[in-house]
């Protein structure tokens, strides 16, 4: 391994770690936002039914 290979390895590993972490954060955030939207919609439906019943 020559010196530039070590440099390439260090930078590629660093950026891979950062990208994987940010990607994971982004995906989880999107999934949670979807979940929040679904729960809010369900709550809205329940409260609409309650109003209709009364």
């Amino acid at each position: 391994m020559d010196n530039s290979s070590y440099l390439f390895a260090a930078f590629s590993i660093t950026w891979s770690i950062i990208f994987v972490y940010i990607f994971r954060l982004f995906r989880t955030q999107t999934a949670l936002n979807d979940q929040i939207y679904k729960i809010k919609k369900t709550l809205q439906n329940i409260s609409d039914l309650d109003v209709a019943d009364s």
Partner: protein
């Protein structure tokens, strides 16, 4: 919440531009070091990553104190998220260090005080995350806060290890400032600023994620209450 989201986009764009600028200074502007050659350029990510890991653990330390003082769950969230971000940067330090050491010291790893204390620091905060998963929810915040305060003792030990004990690890910051040429200094400062922005963006992203989780829990509780009523 909406205002934070609006501010977050230009902040993330600025981080992106700064990261590109940092790469330019590292690979084009900064000169190649005479003894170590191009491998020395690892230094520009290794040092800022180390400082940001220390900063993250300092945030955990302060947030843990605030939590124990105020008992406000938001401080527990900040402490937890800072640990996770700090571990990311500490992992980068522990990976880039040996990659830099191999062509220079001819070994991947040596039980030098700085290397050993950094590894202990990493294990300490990994233990913090393991503790959070292992204990009951009602004990989690208190125990984590105590761990976050005690664990921080490792940070000054790690930082001063190269001054306290005999070591082969280079001392970059001396009493006379940064021990390097002007272009190298400027490249380091640029990379440091870019990494600071990246760190803040990652930490904010992680805190927002944790808040969304808490929001879901609240909504689920409301839903359970409504189901019970019906």
């Amino acid at each position: 919440m909406k205002r934070t989201q609006t501010l977050l986009i230009p902040f993330q764009l600025l981080t992106y531009v700064l990261m590109l600028l940092a790469l330019y200074t590292i690979f084009i502007y900064a000169p190649v070091e005479k003894t170590m050659g191009v491998t020395q350029k690892i230094f520009y990510i290794h040092v800022p990553a180390a400082f940001l890991a220390y900063l993250a653990f300092f945030i955990t330390f302060m947030a843990s104190i605030f939590y124990l003082y105020r008992k406000d769950p938001k401080w527990d969230t900040v402490a937890h998220c800072a640990v996770e971000t700090g571990i990311i940067f500490c992992t980068i330090v522990l990976i880039t260090g040996p990659i830099w050491a191999k062509p220079i010291w001819n070994v991947w790893w040596t039980w030098d005080p700085r290397l050993t204390t950094t590894l202990i620091l990493w294990f300490t905060y990994v233990a913090y995350l393991m503790l959070r998963r292992a204990v009951k929810v009602n004990q989690r915040a208190n125990l984590s806060a105590v761990f976050g305060i005690i664990g921080f003792l490792n940070v000054p030990i790690t930082f001063f290890s190269i001054r306290l004990w005999r070591t082969i690890h280079p001392v970059v910051i001396t009493s006379r400032g940064l021990n390097m040429s002007e272009p190298m200094k400027l490249s380091l400062i640029t990379t440091f600023i870019a990494f600071c922005f990246l760190f803040i963006a990652m930490l904010i992203g992680r805190i927002r994620l944790e808040r969304s989780k808490m929001h879901i829990e609240e909504l689920k509780e409301i839903m359970d209450g409504m189901n019970f009523k019906n």
